[in-house]
C-alpha cells in the first residue's frame, strides 16, 4: 500500500460523496456523536471497574484507547459491543441506549484463533456473518470473494484457519467483520500478538479500508505509537478504578505513512507527551 494509493482512495471517496446522499451524511462529521457514554460506572463482584466514564465518539472518527493493563480498555469496548451492561449510567448509540449487540457494530477480538470457526474454511468464516445477516445464498460467493480480496486473502478462500498464519487469521476476522457492513468497528488489541512487520502492514490495511468505507473505529491498544499513528483522537485511561484520564487530539495529516508520519515532529511530540502521561498515571 503506497501513499499514492491511499490518496487516490481518499479522492475516490470524496467524489462518491458528491453524488450519493448517504455518503454526504456520513462524510459530515456532524455535531451529533455516534456513541456517547453518560456517567457510565461498572462494578464486578463488588469491585469498581469503571468510574464515571463520559465520552463521545463522532461519526467516522478513529478513536484509540490506551492505558496500563487493568484500566478497563477492553471493558469499555465490550460495553459498546453490548456484551456487557453498565451498573449505572448508559451508553447511547445512534440515539438509542445499547442493551444488546447490534448488527452494524462489529468486534475484532484479540485472540483471533478462538474467534474463528476452525471447521470452516476462510470463505466459510466470512460466510457466517452473511448468513447471520440473511444474505441470500446466491449472493454470498461474490461478496465473500470481494471481502477476502479486500484483506489480501483472495487466493486463500479454501484454506482452513489452522493453515493460515496469525496475521492472515486476523485479516480473516477483519473480513468477517466487514461482511457485517458495520457502522462501527470495535478492535480489541487486534495486532497485539503479531510481529512488528505484520503489525505495520495491517495498520495500513485497516487505515485504507476505513478510509474507503467511512466506518467509525474504536481501537484498543497498549502500543502508544500504534495509537498515535492510527487515531484522530487518543483516549488515555487510568486504572483503579478505570476512568478517562486525558484525551489527546491527533492532528497528523492523512494519509499516514509508516516512515514519514512516524518521523513527523508532531508525532514525536505526541509520543513523548502521552508516554510521560501514561507513566505518571501508572506510578
Amino acid at each position: 500500500m503506497t501513499a499514492f494509493d491511499q490518496a487516490s482512495a481518499r479522492k475516490l471517496k470524496n467524489s462518491e460523496q458528491l453524488f450519493t446522499g448517504t455518503e454526504v451524511d456520513k462524510g459530515m462529521k456532524s455535531a451529533e456523536p455516534l456513541i456517547t457514554f453518560r456517567n457510565v460506572c461498572l462494578d464486578f463482584v463488588g469491585r469498581r471497574i469503571l468510574q464515571d466514564i463520559n465520552l463521545s465518539i463522532g461519526r467516522q472518527e478513529f478513536v484509540c484507547v490506551v492505558g496500563p493493563s487493568g484500566c478497563g480498555k477492553t471493558t469499555t469496548l465490550r460495553l459498546i459491543a453490548g456484551l456487557l451492561q453498565p451498573t449505572s449510567g448508559e451508553i447511547v448509540y445512534n440515539g438509542k441506549p445499547v442493551r444488546e449487540p447490534a448488527r452494524d457494530i462489529a468486534v475484532v477480538f484479540q485472540d483471533y484463533t478462538n474467534a474463528l470457526l476452525p471447521w470452516r474454511t476462510a470463505a466459510g468464516n466470512v460466510s457466517l456473518a452473511l448468513e447471520a445477516a440473511g444474505v441470500p445464498r446466491t449472493e454470498r460467493p461474490d461478496r465473500i470473494a470481494a471481502l477476502l480480496e479486500k484483506v489480501g486473502l483472495g487466493n486463500r478462500g479454501e484454506a482452513y484457519p489452522s493453515e493460515l498464519s496469525g496475521g492472515m487469521q486476523q485479516r480473516l476476522q477483519i473480513a468477517r467483520c466487514l461482511a457485517q457492513e458495520p457502522s462501527v468497528l470495535l478492535m480489541d488489541e487486534p495486532f497485539g500478538a503479531l510481529d512488528a512487520m505484520t503489525r505495520q502492514h495491517l495498520q495500513d490495511q485497516v487505515l485504507r479500508i476505513m478510509d474507503q468505507s467511512g466506518t467509525t473505529v474504536f481501537f484498543v491498544t497498549h502500543d502508544l505509537e500504534e495509537a498515535i499513528y492510527l487515531a484522530d483522537r487518543v483516549i488515555a485511561l487510568a486504572p483503579n478504578p478505570g476512568r478517562v484520564a486525558e484525551v489527546f487530539d491527533i492532528k497528523l495529516p492523512r494519509p499516514r505513512n509508516q516512515l514519514t508520519t512516524r518521523e513527523d515532529p508532531e508525532f514525536l511530540r505526541l509520543r513523548r507527551k502521552i508516554f510521560d502521561f501514561v507513566q505518571e498515571s501508572e506510578a
Binding site: G82, W119, R120, E131, S162
Partner: protein
C-alpha cells in the same frame, strides 16, 4: 501414531504388523498340530478357515453375518441419533444440564445386560428387544460427548455468535454442534464397539439368528471349527467398521491441524 511419515516407513510398519499377525496364526497352527489341546476344543486355523469357506459357500454364514452387521449398524445409528439429539437438548441449556444430570448419572452405570430382561418382557424375543438393548447400552458415550461438546465451547465463539446476533437455533447448528463433532466422532467409535458387543450378547440371549447365536450353538455342539470361524468373523466386523470410521474421521475432521 508412529512418527514415520515417509512412505517407506509406513510400508515397513505395515509389514511388521502383518508379520506379527502371521506369527500368531502360525503359532496357533503349531499348537493345534502338536495337539497340545484336544482338536475337539481347539481347531487349527486351517480347519476354522475351511469351516468359514463351507459356511459361505452354502450361503448360511453370509446370511447370518448380514443379520448381525445389520443389527449392529441399526442399533449404533439409532443410539447415535438419540444420543446427539438428547445431548443437544440437555447440553444447550445449563438449567437442563443441572436438572437431568443426576438422573443420568444414576442410570448410566446400569449394565446394559441388566436391561435385557426388561426389554424381553416388554418386546419379547425380537429384533426390537435387541435394538432397545443396544440403544440403551450404546447411547451414553454419544450423549455425554454431545453434552460435553456444548459445555466446552470457547467463550469467544459464544460472543461471536452474540455479536452476529445468531438465533438460538443457528448457534446450535452453526457453532455448538460442529464444535462438538470431534468429541461426538470419538464417542461414536466407542459406541460402535459397544454396539457390536451388545448385538452378540442380544443374539445369544434372545436366540435370534446371527453370528452371535451361531457361535453359541457351535460351542454347545462341540463344533469348534465353526465356533472359531464365527469368532474370527466378529473380529473382522470390528476391524472393518473401525477402518470405515477412520475414513469418516479423516473426511469430517480435515480442518484439524495435521498431527
Amino acid at each position: 501414531m508412529n512418527k514415520n511419515t515417509t512412505r517407506t516407513g509406513k510400508i515397513l510398519w505395515l509389514l511388521a504388523s502383518l508379520a506379527f499377525a502371521a506369527a500368531l496364526i502360525a503359532g496357533w497352527q503349531l499348537i493345534a498340530n502338536m495337539r497340545l489341546i484336544s482338536p475337539v476344543f481347539l481347531p487349527g486355523p486351517d480347519r476354522a478357515f475351511d469351516a468359514a469357506v463351507t459356511g459361505f459357500e452354502s450361503g448360511e454364514l453370509g446370511g447370518k453375518l448380514l443379520l448381525t452387521v445389520e443389527r449392529m449398524i441399526y442399533g449404533w445409528v439409532l443410539s447415535s441419533i438419540l444420543g446427539v439429539a438428547l445431548g443437544t437438548l440437555i447440553g444447550s441449556s445449563a438449567l437442563a444440564r443441572s436438572y437431568f444430570g443426576p438422573t443420568l448419572e444414576f442410570i448410566r452405570p446400569l449394565p446394559a445386560s441388566a436391561i435385557a430382561p426388561i426389554a424381553i418382557t416388554l418386546f419379547g424375543l425380537s429384533n426390537a428387544s435387541v435394538l432397545v438393548l443396544i440403544a440403551f447400552g450404546t447411547i451414553w458415550p454419544m450423549l455425554l460427548a454431545t453434552i460435553h461438546g456444548f459445555a466446552a465451547i470457547h467463550p469467544r465463539l459464544t460472543e461471536v455468535g452474540h455479536v452476529l446476533k445468531l438465533s438460538r437455533l443457528e448457534t446450535i447448528w452453526k457453532i455448538a454442534l460442529p464444535n462438538a463433532v470431534p468429541d461426538i466422532l470419538a464417542s461414536m467409535r466407542l459406541g460402535l464397539t459397544i454396539s457390536l458387543i451388545l448385538t452378540i450378547v442380544g443374539e445369544m440371549l434372545m436366540g435370534l439368528e446371527g453370528i452371535g447365536n451361531s457361535i453359541l450353538l457351535a460351542a454347545r455342539s462341540f463344533d469348534a471349527p465353526n465356533l472359531y470361524a464365527g469368532v474370527i468373523l466378529i473380529g473382522l466386523i470390528g476391524l472393518v467398521s473401525n477402518l470405515l470410521l477412520d475414513m469418516m474421521d479423516r473426511r469430517l475432521l480435515r480442518w484439524r491441524p495435521s498431527r
